[in-house]
């Protein structure tokens, strides 16, 4: 009985690992974002608190697609604060190092923090707060600078470009020029290093152009998986989705094609190694060594007598148990509903009501009819209008934020 209780205790300790929230991805890809929102609301209420930022990010996206920008803002704001917090309790740190890494609070990789900043900035802009939108983007840029591989630090053109446009809305022209220069440098760098970004991007080339900014989320972002003998390595693999770009028609006339401003797959895979990866590798070595040493000690104890045999058996048994219970698996929680890329098209559009048709295109430039969207937009006399569209079926709406 006592043995059973001890095993139960150990099993409970191991149970602290937190898995991915249950996101009905087939429904998301099918455009049933209301069902995903319901599932995430349930997850937020009853799921582990350690996943709060992740769940809120997904919920924020769903609310955006459902047209509830105010609710989306709330979720992205809270998620951003959790993701941006550097401090952790000693207990959480110890548990993640000694026990399962996924027992810690999800705070996301730099590319995920950048995407949170992107969504949060948009919602701030729609609230009429370009200064806070810019603050969110600057926070995203700083998060991108946390990438371990220094070559790929702060190389997200999307964040710099948007921060430049927000600076213009704030009347800070010098700041805008500086952000635009950074956006152009980042775009040239990522385009030369294998991202989908267009080296001669019209949007980044004329960063302040247009009173209407159309943003497109195309495809699906990468999936994080574990690899290595003990699952100690975190790796990304692309998720297939046909949408690779968008073509836009305004009042029946072609307006142009979108250009890639942020390649999310590229941003994810260039994050570099992490300190935790080194720790997990060390734990994998410990696990293997403990199992071998424990087994050896148990064998030795069989040939000894008295106290020596008992001590060898105790230590050997403990080592085997520790080896078996050492969790080396990488924390593969990730934001599964991100797009594969964020693209943009800017245009000068006369004030008034307009009909917008968006045709999402596959990699070969062919129209994907099931993703066609028709929108009615209203362009004001002054200022800028920003719109966000996702390459999912059934998201047409007659009004925009």
């Amino acid at each position: 009985m006592r043995l059973f209780a001890a095993f139960a205790c150990i099993a409970l300790l191991g149970a602290c690992a937190i898995g991915m929230p249950r996101v009905p991805m087939h429904r998301f890809v099918g455009g049933d974002v209301a069902a995903v929102a319901d599932a995430m609301t349930e997850e937020l209420a009853n799921g582990p608190r350690e996943n709060e930022a992740l769940v809120r990010n997904i919920l924020g996206q769903c609310e955006l697609m459902l047209g509830n920008t105010s609710a989306a803002f709330g979720h992205f704001d809270i998620a951003g604060r959790i993701m941006g917090n550097w401090s952790t309790s000693g207990g959480e740190e110890f548990a993640a190092i000694v026990g399962s890494e996924s027992s810690k609070h999800y705070r996301g990789d730099p590319y995920e923090k950048g995407m949170n900043a992107f969504y949060l900035a948009l919602t701030y802009l729609w609230r009429g707060e370009p200064d806070n939108a810019r603050a969110a983007l600057k926070r995203g840029i700083l998060a991108d600078a946390e990438v371990a591989d220094e070559r790929f630090q702060a190389d997200n053109p999307l964040l710099f470009w948007m921060a430049g446009r927000m600076s213009l809305l704030m009347g800070l022209e010098e700041d805008a020029a500086s952000f635009f220069a950074e956006a152009q440098a980042a775009n040239a760098f990522v385009a030369a290093h294998g991202s989908l970004n267009d080296r001669e991007s019209v949007v980044i080339g004329a960063p302040a152009a247009g009173n209407v900014v159309l943003l497109f989320e195309c495809g699906m972002g990468p999936q994080k998986v574990s690899g290595g003998r003990y699952g100690e390595l975190a790796r990304f693999r692309p998720v297939g989705h046909p949408a690779a770009g968008a073509e836009v028609f305004l009042d029946g006339e072609p307006l142009g094609r979108s250009s890639v401003i942020s390649d999310v797959d590229y941003q994810a895979t260039t994050r570099g190694g992490t300190v935790m990866e080194g720790i997990r590798r060390g734990k994998a070595v410990f696990k293997q060594t403990a199992l071998v040493a424990g087994e050896t000690l148990l064998r030795v104890s069989a040939f000894k007598k008295g106290n020596k045999a008992e001590t060898a058996a105790i230590v050997g048994g403990a080592l085997i148990l520790l080896g078996l219970l050492t969790t080396t698996r990488a924390d593969v929680r990730h934001w599964p509903t991100l797009p594969g890329s964020v693209q943009a098209l800017c245009a000068d559009v006369p004030a008034g009501a307009h009909q917008l048709v968006i045709e999402f295109l596959d990699g070969g430039g062919r129209v994907l009819p099931e993703l066609r969207q028709e929108w009615s937009i209203d362009v004001p006399e002054a200022g800028e209008s920003w719109f966000l569209f996702r390459s999912l079926p059934g998201l047409d709406r007659t009004t925009t934020p």
């Binding site: 150990i10 309790s89 058996a313 048994g317």
Partner: protein
């Protein structure tokens, strides 16, 4: 009694106990839910302006404005009027800056009492005033006090800016915040008072987030 060849039950129990002791610290943690003073150091952490900072900067600004005497230099029988504008946030930390100006307004009214008129110039308030006045003038609603007056003009504007300087290298980050306030005479455009509040944070990134 032996449970495995060569291993007694007591040996196995002690092995389990030893393993449990080592793993004990990895146990799941409980949650915290308690009321704390807004002046208490923020247990959540983060290199951001916190409740302490907002309370302190509002208190400091109002004390300095009062000490400067700017808002008390008026002829007998007259009262200075002022309105506040949300702070422009140039930092890398999104913040509801109205929270700061609301706190300052509250502290101003507390400090000056009837010697100061604080005007609400928010678009929502002006719209509410416009609608209510129109309803009263048209007789749709009763003007219970019987008084009519023009919308008050302001003598002073209190506005400000939040700026930061963030330095980041590997696992360390420092964030310096400078919040500046200024009181501008809306007749002469002269800045009669300027004050600031500074805060600096030093953060080390947890090893599990690196």
């Amino acid at each position: 009694m032996t449970v495995m060849p060569g291993i007694s039950r007591s040996v196995l129990s002690r092995s389990l106990l030893l393993a449990l002791l080592v793993l004990g610290a990895t146990a799941c943690r409980g949650t915290i839910d308690r009321r704390v003073s807004p002046d208490e150091p923020d247990p959540v952490g983060g290199a951001n302006l916190r409740s302490q900072d907002i309370r302190t900067m509002a208190d400091k600004a109002v004390r300095e404005i009062k000490a400067s005497g700017v808002l008390l230099r008026v002829p007998e029988g007259q009262t200075i009027s002022i309105f506040t504008q949300g702070l422009t946030n140039e930092s890398s930390d999104p913040i509801n800056s109205r929270m700061i100006t609301e706190k300052i307004e509250t502290e101003l009214l507390r400090a000056f009492g009837g010697d100061l008129i604080v005007l609400d110039r928010s678009p929502e308030a002006l719209e509410a005033v416009r609608k209510e006045r129109a309803a009263k003038r048209s007789g749709a609603v009763a003007n219970t006090s019987g008084r009519t007056s023009p919308v008050l003009g302001a003598d002073f504007l209190l506005k400000g800016k939040i700026q930061d300087r963030v330095l980041q290298a590997r696992d360390r980050k420092s964030a310096y915040y400078l919040v500046t306030f200024e009181l501008t005479d809306l007749e002469s455009s002269r800045k009669y008072w300027k004050g600031d509040y500074e805060a600096k944070f030093d953060s080390e990134k947890s090893v599990i987030a690196r």
